[in-house]
């Protein structure tokens, strides 16, 4: 997984900011079937959606696949966009829903695989449950050098909450609504992620 995350901090997109004034016209043209207009919308927004996908999954190939799905869905659902909010808000809301839905499907699939294989160790699952003794699982020192890599190495549940709260800046109530997590679980996952990262970055 980590090998797919190739130094993402060094690959920041350097592009001029999107022309928001022109966005409604692009959306209208895309709604009418203009693929070139949709490509312009894609160029404006793909960086943020890919960044969120990559940080939520910790896997570059999966992040690309998810980003692709998000934009194909956006194309299919453009007619449902009524312009009541900014296109970027609409797109990001749809993207986040799709990403979290995929995360839940992955979690269920992971649980089924574990059952199917009669997993030999509890750590073979998605490792969402903290250790009974409260101990912090060790993180490889090389992974800890880079924060992105350390985030990618978090257990999925802790990574999701950390990325949404501490990286993307969503509030607790927003995350609870999006993920369906109870407030206590959400905070526990956030504390856990921070503790793991502090430990990892200390080394």
């Amino acid at each position: 997984m980590l090998t797919d995350l190739v130094n993402p901090r060094s690959t920041t997109i350097e592009m001029p900011p999107p022309d928001r004034d022109d966005e409604p016209r692009r959306v209208a043209r895309a709604c009418a079937g203009d693929v070139t207009a949709f490509e312009e919308l894609y160029r404006d927004h793909v960086g943020r959606i890919f960044a969120l996908s990559l940080r939520l999954t910790g896997d570059r190939a999966r992040a690309a696949e998810l980003t692709q799905d998000v934009f194909v869905q956006a194309w299919e659902r453009l007619s449902a966009f009524r312009g009541e909010s900014a296109f970027s808000s609409w797109l990001h809301r749809n993207a986040l829903n799709a990403l979290l839905m995929r995360a839940r499907a992955d979690k269920r699939r992971s649980a089924r695989v574990q059952l199917a294989e009669d997993a030999r160790s509890p750590s073979a699952g998605d490792n969402d449950v903290p250790g009974v003794d409260g101990s912090v699982p060790p993180i490889d020192i090389e992974q800890a050098i880079d924060l992105e890599r350390a985030i990618a190495s978090l257990p999925p549940g802790a990574r999701q909450v950390f990325v949404l709260h501490d990286v993307a800046g969503y509030r607790h109530d927003e995350i609870a609504r999006m993920t369906g997590l109870a407030a206590g679980t959400l905070r526990a996952q956030l504390h856990r992620a921070r503790r793991l990262l502090v430990e990892a970055l200390k080394k």
Binding site: T11, I13, Y42, R60, E65, R104, L115, L147, K202
Partner: protein
């Protein structure tokens, strides 16, 4: 926390950094941190982490081929109405779940499945805010009549998960059909039809509303029910 001896719990430091402690607790933590180098250092590390996390670039460059892949899919959407689903078999779900079911009579399971399916259909209808049209054909054929692109990735992944195991159980049941009580086989088929209808409803609903998490759960749950019913049926003793 006894400030002179015990360190502040990490969770408390985390809440302190977020500024969500009440005034009294905040003051206690502040006092302790000022007199405890360990906790002061832990808090500093935590704040460094939070600062770094919020400063990560908001945008990252995707693979260069991504737009080409997307373009290919959206252009194909207009004329992709009849393609069949790809064969994507990755896992064999539920092999270890057998022990979870203790019902000795498989038809209790079948009846329970039908009741649950009826409930999930009602939920699907409520989610769609319109009546659910009961499918007249099995879920597999519904899926094949929907264009690939109409099914969200989650639905395709769930289908792929179950496809192989369901196919094997179906084959086993067909091979054993002649040796089973005909009345029992009729009941099995009736229960399977009800579950297939619910799966088909969920697939159609997901094609309309691909981001709906509840529909994903309903689809997955109905596949689980179908799997378990087929498994129980395949284990039935012969009537001869």
């Amino acid at each position: 926390m006894s400030e002179a001896q015990d360190h502040v719990a990490f969770e408390t430091l985390s809440n302190f950094a977020d500024g969500i402690l009440d005034a009294a607790e905040r003051e206690r933590v502040q006092r302790h941190v000022q007199s405890c180098t360990d906790c002061e250092e832990r808090l500093a590390r935590l704040r460094t982490l939070l600062g770094a996390a919020s400063s990560l670039p908001a945008e990252l460059e995707p693979p260069s081929h991504l737009w080409g892949d997307i373009r290919h899919r959206i252009v194909a959407l207009s004329d992709d109405q009849t393609r069949s689903l790809p064969e994507r078999v990755t896992v064999r779900p539920g092999r270890g779940a057998r022990a979870l079911w203790s019902a000795r009579n498989p038809w209790l399971l079948g009846a329970a499945a039908v009741v649950l399916v009826a409930v999930s259909s009602a939920v699907t209808a409520a989610l769609l805010r319109r009546p659910v049209v009961v499918a007249a054909q099995p879920a597999e054929s519904i899926a094949r009549t929907l264009p690939v692109s109409a099914l969200p990735a989650s639905a395709r992944a769930i289908e792929a998960d179950y496809a192989r195991t369901l196919g094997e159980l179906r084959e086993t049941l067909e091979l054993r059909r002649a040796g089973l009580d005909p009345a029992t086989v009729v009941k099995v088929e009736a229960s399977l039809r009800v579950i297939d209808q619910a799966i088909a409803e969920a697939l159609r609903a997901l094609a309309d509303d691909p981001a709906n998490l509840t529909l994903v759960d309903i689809l997955s749950a109905n596949y689980e029910r179908k799997l378990e019913l087929l498994r129980r049926a395949a284990e039935l003793p012969s009537s001869t």
